[in-house]
């Protein structure tokens, strides 16, 4: 069988100043995953390695470069699925690890569950000896500026929607 890899970044109005870095990021991830497959590695290893590269690249909204929530905090989500066994693992609202995709794979391979969230996910990360990082190390200057803009205009948006919301109604993960 001929190995194949497909990669994506976020689907949104990507600003021109990060367009080349976005192109280069997905190319780098595809090359890494394809190299793993060409050397006989598994599809699971390939997708995990690719996503780790993208999580480490600050122009993408995942891992380092994650958006800040209404409280100015990072909450990251990730999932992985094995098409052979249909095993799946996922984490949601994790804050203090660099690569949520690796923790999602641990959920898949080391628990009977499919999804761990919040404090439980972070506790599981500790059990698995996943290095804990200061969440501030995942915050980029660009994300902080975007959050500050959100904070500045949030009340205007709230007024527009009759104070029915506390987060932007539109926007993309």
């Amino acid at each position: 069988v001929e190995p194949v890899v497909v990669i994506h970044g976020g689907a949104w109005a990507i600003p021109e100043n990060i367009s080349d870095a976005s192109r280069n990021g997905v190319k780098l991830a595809a090359r890494k995953a394809y190299e793993i497959l060409k050397h006989g590695g598994s599809a699971l290893d390939a997708v995990e390695a690719a996503v780790v590269i993208l999580e480490d690249e600050p122009v993408f909204d995942a891992g380092k470069g994650s958006c800040l929530n209404a409280a100015g905090l990072i909450e990251m989500d990730a999932s992985i699925m094995d098409g052979t066994s249909l095993k799946a693992g996922a984490v949601a609202a994790v804050a203090n690890i660099s690569n949520p995709i690796c923790l999602a794979r641990m959920v898949m391979e080391q628990t009977d569950h499919c999804l761990l969230v919040g404090e439980g996910a972070n506790m599981f990360a500790n059990e698995c000896n996943v290095p804990s990082v200061d969440p501030s190390s995942l915050v980029t200057e660009a994300c902080l500026e975007e959050w500050q803009t959100f904070e500045k205009y949030k009340s205007a948006v709230d007024s527009l929607f009759n104070n029915q919301i506390t987060s932007l109604p539109l926007g993309h993960d």
Binding site: G10, C67, A78
Partner: protein, 140 residues
């Protein structure tokens, strides 16, 4: 959001998705990325999918599994991805993107947003792009 789908030399398929969410999201808000069937799905007999875009819209459509179901009914991967994103747009007014590999190794991608970075590696050829209709190719 970022994601990857791969098929290895044994014909096994895997998919993965990761995200930091949306700026200013409500504390505790979870999008499609960690939800199997919404942001991610893989089954060797049919294909693998990873999604990005407006999480709430993707969840309502169960986008990843919807694409898989269309392929299961005989639709080509590219058509399944495009049709599913159009459905999401028309039914819940949501925009986004998705990548896919079918069980026969056919790669596909589509997006209904302004831009989405994508890359495909197959047969020692790397293709990639960002803008609609942009496609670059180089030998690996």
């Amino acid at each position: 959001t970022v994601g990857a789908v791969a098929m290895d030399a044994n014909g096994r398929i895997a998919a993965a998705t990761s995200t930091g969410g949306i700026t200013g999201k409500r504390v505790g808000r979870v999008g499609d990325s960690p939800l199997i069937g919404s942001g991610t799905y893989a089954i060797d007999e049919i294909g693998g999918v990873s999604c990005t875009g407006h999480g709430e819209s993707i969840i309502k459509i169960c986008l990843a599994k919807h694409i898989i179901c269309l392929m299961e009914s005989g639709m080509k991967a590219q058509e399944a991805v495009e049709q599913s994103l159009q459905l999401m747009n028309s039914r819940v007014k949501g925009a986004g993107g998705a990548i896919c590999i079918s069980a026969s190794g056919e790669p596909a991608f589509h997006f209904t947003t302004e831009r989405m970075a994508w890359a495909i590696a197959k047969a020692d050829v790397l293709s990639w792009g960002l803008d609609p209709k942009e496609s670059n190719v180089e030998k690996m």
